[in-house]
């Protein structure tokens, strides 16, 4: 059996089958509906004007992306003025090399990390470990996954696929003791272990929820406080950000803060919102002496130039995952990439390649629940259709081409359409079982593999209408 929880992959159908048969996972996914998804709805409902505020947030993102070069330069100038250092990473490889180099230059040996999807994207931990550093994930969920050797399956609840029993097993093995499966005991065990790591660490690595161009401020939002510890205890702080995370002004920040936690969990604000503006100042007793900001491209400029720019507006709240009827059945690992759910179905094909991930643009019913839940109203269905169009242009099967040509011809000629319908009725009628086709022959077999096909009605709507109309006239 493939271990989709450990490895990125391109076997979407295989992973889906495995996920659907995984009972603990299914139970975990059901819990999302009542907690995070319900929280999203409650959160928006409790915020007067939430609809207009989301429009406003989107406009800020659109504006920023349309002037991204200027804002990145402004951000750099602000950080430098504070005594921080800015590094430009064109690719994941560049970013890894830069961070390893910072660690070497500052003689760091032990790194603590607060949760960062961007660091997952560049596979940072492996590179740091190869360079001889000890790396510890400090978000409790991420720590469980690091110990278990697994990938996150949700943007904000990375270990959501675990149960209390499986967490107890993972941590018991780690501490060499038999831990009870009570969440409180397990979390406090995590606190004890990780507190030691914070005490000894000399390098703190974080992502960035936002970076304010005008002030050079990096904003971290966490519930546990590990983001704060990571930027308080070690003497060096490295913040890694995707270049789209910049926002223009400090005044724009509260717009996003009001939406982020509400969208993600329904909280008014997450427990800790931390604004880091440069390294520790003279006289201060804690905080890092060095501050480095690594700005990552890794395919983003390609996306920025094309029709999928809107995907760069994402603030990684996870709301679209919780709202998606597909994600809520298959979980995050099935999507194969670092990012999962509806937004992952766009990001993974764009960052990786459409041809490597042919199923992802179709892993959606296009119901629009993702867009309805999104704090910046990203039109995910539109982009999924856009990716399907990209696939269509790359399609090589001549049979499929021919079939669509024929389909389009028939649809454009009413007479031909009626004839085709009559023909289909004649042909398919005898195969029907109680008005449904349970099994289609030949190339149609795929359609009926998991669902029934309706038999064309014995009389068309047009025929019935004509008759009814004639009766009424009388």
């Amino acid at each position: 059996m493939n271990d989709y929880a450990r490895h990125e992959h391109h076997d979407f159908p295989g992973a889906v089958h495995q996920a659907l048969a995984d009972e603990p996972l299914q139970a975990a996914l059901v819990r999302l509906t009542g907690t995070l998804m319900a929280g999203n709805r409650r959160g928006y409902a409790a915020l007067a004007d939430s609809d207009r505020l989301r429009d406003h947030a989107k406009q800020i993102k659109e504006h920023t992306l349309a002037h991204l070069d200027n804002y990145l330069e402004q951000l750099e100038a602000s950080v430098v003025k504070l005594g921080g250092k800015v590094h430009w990473a064109a690719s994941a490889e560049d970013a890894r090399a830069i961070i390893v180099d910072i660690a070497r230059q500052s003689s760091c040996k032990r790194a603590v990390k607060s949760k960062s999807m961007t660091s997952e994207e560049i596979h940072l931990n492996r590179a740091l470990e190869k360079a001889g550093l000890e790396v510890t994930e400090t978000d409790f969920g991420e720590f469980i996954l690091q110990v278990a050797g697994e990938r996150p399956s949700h943007l904000v609840a990375p270990a959501v696929h675990h149960t209390r029993e499986s967490v107890a097993r993972v941590l018991s093995k780690y501490v060499g003791d038999d831990l009870p499966d009570d969440p409180k005991t397990l979390a406090l065990t995590g606190r004890r272990i990780l507190r030691q790591e914070f005490h000894q660490a000399d390098l703190g690595i974080t992502g960035a929820n936002f970076a304010v161009a005008e002030t050079g401020t990096v904003v971290l939002v966490t519930n546990e406080g590990n983001g704060r510890l990571t930027t308080t205890c070690p003497r060096v702080h490295v913040a890694l950000m995707g270049m789209e995370k910049v926002i223009p002004r400090l005044a724009d920040l509260p717009v996003f803060l009001k939406l982020l936690a509400r969208a993600a969990t329904g909280q008014t604000l997450s427990v800790y919102t931390t604004l880091i503006t440069g390294p520790r100042r003279p006289g201060e007793l804690d905080g890092p002496e060095e501050f480095h900001l690594v700005i990552l491209d890794n395919g983003r400029s390609r996306i920025l130039a094309g029709p999928f720019r809107e995907s760069l507006e994402c603030i990684r709240c996870g709301a679209c995952l919780n709202a998606c009827p597909v994600y809520r059945r298959i979980g995050g690992h099935a999507y194969g990439g670092v990012y999962s759910g509806p937004i992952g179905s766009i990001l993974t094909p764009l960052y990786d390649s459409v041809s490597n991930n042919p199923e992802l643009p179709h892993a959606s019913s296009l119901c629009g629940a993702c867009q309805a839940a999104c704090p910046v109203k990203i039109n995910i269905p539109r982009m999924l259709i856009g990716l399907r169009e990209v696939q269509h242009h790359h399609r090589t099967s001549t049979w499929e081409h021919l079939a669509y040509k024929l389909w389009s011809l028939v649809l454009r000629k009413p007479r031909l359409y009626r004839l085709a319908l009559r023909f289909a009725r004649m042909l398919l009628g005898p195969l029907a079982d109680d008005g449904w086709l349970k099994r289609l022959p030949g190339p149609g077999a795929g359609w009926t593999h998991a669902r029934d096909f309706p038999v064309p009605a014995s009389r068309s709507f047009r025929d019935r209408w004509r008759e009814l109309y004639a009766k009424k006239e009388k």
């Binding site: 003025k81 005044a251 009001k258 604004l275």
Partner: protein, 231 residues
């Protein structure tokens, strides 16, 4: 070309290519959208939000009552090592003498030096600090890092007591950033007006990483008390 120039050049070209395809919006004015305010009684709103986030609130009328409450909380939590911050309000209360007279071990932040400071921070059972602002809308404490208010004081000890005055309440999150912007007139630039670390604290530390069940105190303090004094 340096990696910086190549990076920015790529972004510049991508911006131009992508902008051609669509409309470029100016940076929008908010025009009051999203402002919630705190109604007629900001304290009431703060209380509702702060308690909903799991925080504890004690309303007190004078310095004596505040000191008594601090002692009461220390005894309830059965702790000994106290990390004490300093700000004008804390100075007025003169907690150090008050607590030391009662046999408690008080470490004053002012007496620490950067080189040795981590140990007392990690060892403390309880951190007592002031706050810079409170946000009624969201039920949050706002703390600026400073020599007399290190980041650790509200972070490392398992219990945090924040002593605040009613007049420090601002109604809405937007008001805080308005206030933060106001500093720019005094300090020249907005960036230098911000502290190296500004933290908004909304309740005790939480995790939902096991079965989405809430557990408090996973990294930061599991208990946070606000002692609110009438101004």
């Amino acid at each position: 070309m340096t990696s910086r120039e190549a990076f920015l050049d790529r972004v510049r070209k991508a911006v131009a290519a992508g902008n051609r395809a669509g409309i470029v919006h100016p940076l929008p004015d908010r025009n009051g959208v999203g402002y919630q305010g705190a109604g007629s009684d900001p304290l009431e709103r703060f209380e509702i939000e702060w308690k909903a986030a799991g925080g504890q609130l004690h309303l007190l009328h004078d310095a004596d009552a505040a000191r008594a409450k601090v002692l009461d909380l220390i005894q309830t939590h059965q702790v000994r090592k106290i990390l004490l911050g300093s700000d004008p309000l804390l100075t007025t209360l003169d907690l150090q003498q008050f607590l030391q007279q009662r046999g408690l071990e008080v470490i004053k932040v002012q007496d620490l030096e950067a080189a040795t400071s981590p140990e007392p921070f990690f060892a403390a059972d309880i951190g007592i600090s002031g706050v810079d602002f409170l946000i009624a809308e969201t039920g949050s404490l706002v703390m600026r890092s400073a020599p007399n208010q290190p980041r650790s004081i509200s972070l490392l000890p398992p219990v945090h007591i924040a002593i605040a005055e009613r007049r420090q309440l601002v109604p809405d999150l937007f008001d805080l950033f308005h206030k933060t912007s106001e500093f720019s007139q005094d300090f020249g630039s907005l960036a230098s007006a911000l502290p190296s670390c500004l933290t908004l604290i909304t309740g005790p530390s939480k995790t939902g990483d096991i079965e989405l069940r809430l557990v408090t105190g996973v990294h930061g303090p599991g208990t946070v008390h606000v002692l609110m004094l009438d101004s």
